[in-house]
């Protein structure tokens, strides 16, 4: 079964090479086409001065209304720090079984935690976040399998513990198990 295609919208400044590589990884995981789109969107309307962060709920709604298409999953990648009213921060979020998701690179880089820059690790974390949020958009809920990318992660260290891939069970749910053989 072929899953609906994906539109990856990069909002902000990214290396094109990195975006292409991210799109390839995502495409390989879900066995579907990924259309890459770069946008230079003003995110200031989503900035909350009290929290000095960007409102993830409002941004998700904006992506849904401005970019989402029928029969495609749209995910926006941003570099700003996201929050939702009830939580201090989020790595990303998506409408479960919906059309849209968002993922932030802000808390994925080592420098945020006083550690040396590691681009390779940042790339891996970024792939995991995109695959995870897209998993929700395809209807997957959190998985208990330790290495599954759909395992819930609340710290960046948690993200490092899991693989970039869906476990067999999650693949079966999406009907893409056969592609892996």
């Amino acid at each position: 079964m072929k899953l609906p295609g994906i539109t990856l919208i990069a909002i902000g400044y990214f290396e094109r090479k990195m975006l292409d590589a991210l799109a390839d990884e995502v495409s390989n995981e879900y066995h579907t086409d990924v259309y890459l789109r770069e946008e230079f969107k003003d995110l200031s309307p989503f900035f909350d001065p009290a929290r000095k962060q960007y409102n993830g709920n409002a941004l998700l709604k904006e992506i849904e209304s401005q970019y989402a298409l029928e029969n495609r999953k749209t995910i926006a990648l941003v570099t700003v720090d996201l929050f939702i009213p009830i939580l201090t921060y989020i790595f990303g979020q998506a409408y479960l079984n919906g059309r849209t998701g968002i993922a932030s690179m802000y808390r994925l880089s080592n420098e945020r935690y006083g550690l040396p820059r590691n681009d390779e690790l940042l790339f891996d974390r970024c792939v995991k976040e995109l695959v995870h949020e897209l998993g929700h958009a395809y209807g997957l809920i959190h998985c208990r399998t330790l290495r599954c990318v759909m395992l819930s992660s609340t710290y960046v260290e948690d993200i490092d513990q899991k693989s970039m891939h869906l476990c067999m069970e999650c693949q079966k749910i999406l009907g893409i198990h056969d592609h892996k053989k």
């Binding site: 709920n57 929050f83 939702i84 009213p85 009830i86 939580l87 201090t88 921060y89 989020i90 979020q93 998506a94 409408y95 479960l96 929700h136 809920i141 959190h142 998985c143 208990r144 819930s152 609340t154 710290y155």
Partner: protein
Amino acid sequence: MSTNINMLIVDDEESVRDSLYNWFIEDGYEVGCAENASVALNMLEKKDFDIILADIKMPGMDGLEMLKRIKTIKPSAIVIIMTAFATVDTAVQALKDGAFDYVTKPFDPDDLSHLIRNASKQIALSSENESLKSRITNLEQVEDLIGSSEAMQQVLREVQSVAPSNASVIITGESGTGKELIARAIHANSPRKFFPMVSVHCGALSESLLESELFGHEKGAFTGAVYNRKGRFEMADNGTIFLDEIATISAKMQIELLRVLETKSFMRVGGNKLINSDFRVICATNKDLKKMVDNGTFREDLYYRLNVVNILIPPLRERVDDIPLLVDYFIRKYCNAMSRNIVSIEPAAIRKLKEFEFPGNVRELENMIERAIVVGNGKEIRVKDLPLSQESVVSSSVESLDELEKKHIQLILNKYDWNISRASKALQVDRVTLYNKIKKFDLKQPD
């Protein structure tokens, strides 16, 4: 990670509801949302929610008031109070009112995950606890208490009425009437049901053995006491001790027992440490204890200590209406135990059973049905499958020798169809003697 936990989010801010909703459905929870307390309470009346996350400040009823209401509707519900402005006072109040936790918005995602994981564990533990309790209740349920007769219904009413109290009970009844079952029913319906019911058959033990059995003993207390041993009173701590055949205990044991009942403390045989035990005592006897008190064989003070409530179980012959019910119950019980199809019983057999005296009471009926199932044709219990021959009829109501002789002669005559020669041979008397006995007892051949 699909779960079967239902969650309710109560917050007047839509963005908070949406955020939590999205967060939890991604975790596989079933989530409901309410914008205020009254909507939430309505939802709770229609659906069972396991975890309720409620904001403390809401228009109308606040979170703390709602918490109190929820605890009256569903005491086991886990309520987590959320607030943007935490104060120690409100936190303490929330926890006093039964909140599971009190958290300040916004939460760290990891804290929220931990909180819900802990709440889920609590729910799993509570549900496991409930299931274990219900299994214990099932184990303790006394199914063998069958009877629709007024006499038996009265006994069951007394059981229900006395069970919740701590009162001592004496159960009186003939052998085989089910005195221990009644004791079990009292225990199973009492607040002590989760603790043991310890039975002691006083009649089966000598005085010294009974003493050691009831109070326990220390190593070396007597020859053969190679280990320390807990006594039955100690084992029955928080539970019930059932003393069967209480009328058989010696005068010395009566004094010991009285002292233990008064102080709820005792020493093991050979020990010097006072042991306390909180037990309820239920006794059973087939003797008339009051009569024993009157003739001085049972201590009056012990009698009054034990006899707070007296339950008299009627013999089966006084409640023959219960026989069909009991027969039906025993047929099912033994057919299931023997993995056989349920057999029926012919109406004539029921009639015969109702006419039978049952000196051994329900126990005798039970044995009779078990035997009939074993020896029967596997379809129906017939009269001939029941050991109702008059040999077994030695009525406990027959007291005089004359009456016994009369019944026995009638039995033998009936057995040999009033053939005087064969009957006199069986009775080992000559024919003249038999004729004289027939005349004396005014015996008549049945039509």
